[in-house]
Amino acid sequence: MNLYKYASPATFYPLAGKIIPWFQIPAALLFATGLFVGFIIAPPDFQQGDAYRIIFIHVPAAWMGMFLYVLMAIYAGIGWAFNARLASMMASSLAVTGAMFTALSLITGALWGKPTWGTWWVWDARMTSTLILMFLYIGFISLQASIEDPRRADRAGAVLALVGVINVPIIYFSVQWWNTLHQGATIRILQKPTIRGSMLAALLIMLAACWFYSVAVVLIRLRCIILEREQNASRFAEVGV
């Protein structure tokens, strides 16, 4: 089987249509399970009471915001370096969902900060760098929207996305590098997590739900982008004739 043929938008379009339901349905089930475990099974936190339950949406949203940015930069880079149209379209599609998750992490963070820290917002390293991530997403989307020729828009977006990727490790390590108000990581790759099993389970299920959801909506948007660009191309072809 020649996998490279799926690098073409026209052949990837029907494949994406087949993949989408495999992510849509599990996303809905995982969201329902995650909320059930997070609200019904997990006990209140001994320090933060029930306020900590914001973690189940705040942390997955923040992770997805960062992860989708890196993915967007990689796709934009591939699209630029190898002149691969589909990769650039994927980057444009990822940007909107990534921006949505970053906005959610900022809003839910503010809603968590108010009862636990007594303030909606502080110019703390992690929050400021996350706000910069939000601006990078907005910059990427508006830069692409402002350039009429799609391939030129892809290239300009790729430069911005690749330069901005430096911000992601800054966000991730900000709680270690600086003395921030934001709490440190609860889950670490090499060490035991510092929360109870049921809390961790709810968090991981919600993360999986956000991941499945992202794949589904990104592919749906990608299909729209493919159609839009093909239509524009055929319209230009008509004018040319």
Binding site: L35, F39, I40, I41, P43, P44, G49, D50, A51, R53, I54, I57, H58, A61, V96, T97, M100, A103, L104, I107, T108, L111, W112, K114, P115, Y213, V217, I220, R221, R223, C224, L227, E228, Q231, S234
Partner: protein
């Protein structure tokens, strides 16, 4: 199992507010994508009608 009370110990506004905002964001994204898709398929069907009309007229002139 422990059913929490809906006020969530006084944190209800913040916790439910977070989930409400998230729900709105997800619904917004899904609905706007549905509309975008619908507009595209409508445009596509009108394009194909136009294309067939154009093709028809071309055929008429050539035959």
């Amino acid at each position: 199992m422990n059913w929490p009370d809906l006020s969530l110990g006084g944190y209800g506004f913040y916790v439910w507010g977070s989930y409400l905002v998230s729900l709105i964001a997800i619904v917004w994204e899904v609905v706007s994508l549905k509309q975008r898709k619908k507009a595209l398929t409508q445009q596509q069907s009108s394009n194909s009608v136009r294309a067939s009309v154009v093709r028809g007229s071309v055929n008429e002139t050539t035959s």
